[in-house]
């Protein structure tokens, strides 16, 4: 048996856990730099606030409708996510953390369990211990678990957030209800081909021949089909703890046209990526750098470009990654453009202790020691040690006009009780 557990409106629910006065009030959470809405309470959804709506366009809308707006508070969400995931792992040893607010669970050897009861127990434990409401879909396979979860959420008044697909009848009924475009893993390209075969629901998809699916959608498509048929084919991915790529991207508070400013930002983003690499003991082989003007300002000259650099050797050094990233940004920068967003993505990750050495080109071994000292000092004293390209005065300078306190990660921010 598999389960997909999903936190309801996760960021909004984290805010409510510490400010219960907003429990029945519409609330919404903005992305980094207060760019657009990324989490909405059910009440805010009902009022018609769209997902990913740009903040500046909907400021009046929120005021008029009494929607309480929050800046994103990732230290809080990260800690609350960890709490939820750790509680889930007390119910089964097999947990795949799929994203900050989703996890797959696998129940092997739980033969005599009543999963409806067990699911409600999990839900109650998480809700009571953290204040975060969750929905659970349970089924014999991962893909069906995802379908069950959608039903649990869609019909919350009847399911109370827990839905189990147990029998074949339940499976068929659920698949007939599920539109093909909402099926997990069916991409845009596949959708066209499926529509041409008159596939409208997940059930229609399972009625296709294995040969056709394999030919048109490759082995991944066939695995998905088997999974939807109730034959467990997709396994828990236990390798997700280490990410495949690491990105640091931000919208700027203001627009930048001067290359020196942009170089400073890119160097900072590169340093942040390198730090994340070191914290998971990975090194990267590729660096992607991108620049983008403000697409909402239609009257201004638009420019977006990116560069990919393949490194001569895998590295986790802030110095190396930053100097290559700066080379890259120099090659894509265009004068006279007002840039609004930039980012650095590192990919081609390999475990640092398994990286291949190049006979002629390799990292100065001093970097390793320098990085170790840099990390330990930064860990202790906050981000004080920087590389020379980074501005000494600034940190992110993120726009966070509606930020709530870090209730669980800063002792000065804990709740006050009378």
């Amino acid at each position: 048996m598999f389960a997909l557990v999903d936190c309801n409106n996760f960021y909004a629910s984290c805010e409510r856990a510490f400010q219960p006065q907003y429990n029945n009030v519409p609330i919404a959470v903005l992305s980094n730099n207060d760019g657009c809405f990324i989490s909405r309470s059910d009440e805010a959804k009902k009022l018609g606030l769209p997902m990913a709506a740009p903040a500046f366009k909907y400021r009046r809308f929120c005021e008029d409708n009494g929607i309480k707006v929050f800046s994103s508070n990732y230290p809080l969400y990260g800690d609350m996510s960890k709490r939820v995931m750790n509680i889930l792992s007390t119910f089964t040893p097999d947990v795949e953390v799929y994203s900050i607010d989703e996890a797959f669970l696998k129940f092997e050897g739980f033969d005599d369990y009543d999963f409806d009861v067990y699911g409600r127990e999990i839900q109650h434990k998480v809700q009571k211990s953290t204040g975060i409401p969750i929905s659970i879909g349970m089924a014999p396979t991962k893909a069906l678990g995802k379908v069950a979860n959608k039903i649990a959420k869609k019909f919350r008044s009847r399911t109370n957030g827990v839905f189990v697909i147990n029998t074949n009848e339940e499976r068929v009924k659920a698949l007939k209800w599920t539109k093909i475009e909402t099926v997990w893993g069916v991409g845009h390209g596949n959708l066209k081909r499926l529509k041409s075969k008159n596939v409208k629901t997940a059930y229609d998809f399972t009625q296709l021949s294995d040969d056709w699916v394999k030919k048109q959608m490759a082995i991944i498509g066939l695995r998905l089909k088997k999974d939807l048929e109730g034959i467990p084919t997709l396994e828990l991915d236990d390798d997700t703890r280490d990410r495949k790529a690491i990105a640091t991207t931000r919208s700027f508070e203001y627009t930048y046209s001067d290359i020196e400013n942009i170089k400073e930002r890119i160097s900072t983003f590169a340093g942040s990526c390198a730090e994340k690499l070191r914290s998971q003991n990975s090194s990267c082989n590729h660096i992607v750098v991108f620049l983008r003007s403000n697409k909402h300002k239609k009257d201004e000259p638009q420019h977006r470009n990116s560069a990919i650099i393949t490194l001569p050797y895998a590295t986790d050094s802030s110095l190396t990654i930053s100097s290559y990233a700066i080379e890259a940004v120099r090659s894509i920068y265009k004068q006279g453009i007002k840039y609004k967003k930039a980012g650095v993505v590192v990919s081609g990750l390999v475990p640092t202790n398994e990286r291949q050495l190049d006979l002629f080109l390799s990292e100065d071994p001093k970097h390793h020691e320098i990085m170790k000292v840099m990390d330990s000092v930064n860990d202790k004293y906050g981000h004080k040690v920087k590389i020379a390209n980074q501005d000494l005065e600034r940190t992110w300078k993120m726009r966070q006009e509606h930020l709530s306190p870090k209730y669980t990660t800063n002792i000065n921010d804990i709740i006050r009780v009378k």
Binding site: N86, S129, V417, K418
Partner: protein, 149 residues
């Protein structure tokens, strides 16, 4: 470590080391070059940690700061730090952090058939009787009070 022949030419013979299996041999942190090893080495124990002593359920534990003097009778002074376990059930007589009337409050619970009374422990404050069905959220149960002396 032994070696294994991997190839041969007229003039040269190549060998590659046979690494064999990795065998992990536990080593002691104490070097025993001369003199006696520490007699305490075999009796190492972890140093006392307040985290493990005061936090029984890590994922459900949160902290709060007391503001005001309504509970001084129970030893909760202004500025004290509270350890709160959200996973515990609300029971009669327990000290709880509640959310009532738009704010967090810490009081002793007096649970009756159709009401809950939030009992202060300071004569200057009045009990707050909350009828069943009212908007009272029992947020968590206080398990420890930490105070500066």
């Amino acid at each position: 470590m032994s070696s294994r022949k991997v190839g041969e030419t007229n003039v040269l013979t190549f060998f590659t080391p046979d690494k064999g299996k990795n065998i992990n041999i536990p080593i002691s942190n104490n070097t025993v070059s001369a003199g006696f090893p520490s007699p305490a080495e075999d009796f190492k124990e972890k140093r006392i940690s307040l985290d493990t002593s005061l936090i029984h359920n890590k994922e459900a534990t949160f902290f709060a700061r007391v503001s005001g003097r309504s509970m001084i009778g129970a030893g909760l002074d202004d500025g004290d730090l509270l350890v709160i376990d959200r996973s515990l059930e609300a029971e009669n007589g327990k000290i709880a952090v509640c959310f009532f009337d738009g704010e967090f409050t810490v009081k002793r619970l007096q649970i009756e058939k159709d009401s809950i009374t939030l009992m202060p422990e300071n004569k200057k404050y009045k009990p707050i009787k909350v009828p069943k069905g009212s908007d009272l959220l029992i947020w968590g149960i206080v398990t420890y009070v930490i105070k500066a002396v």
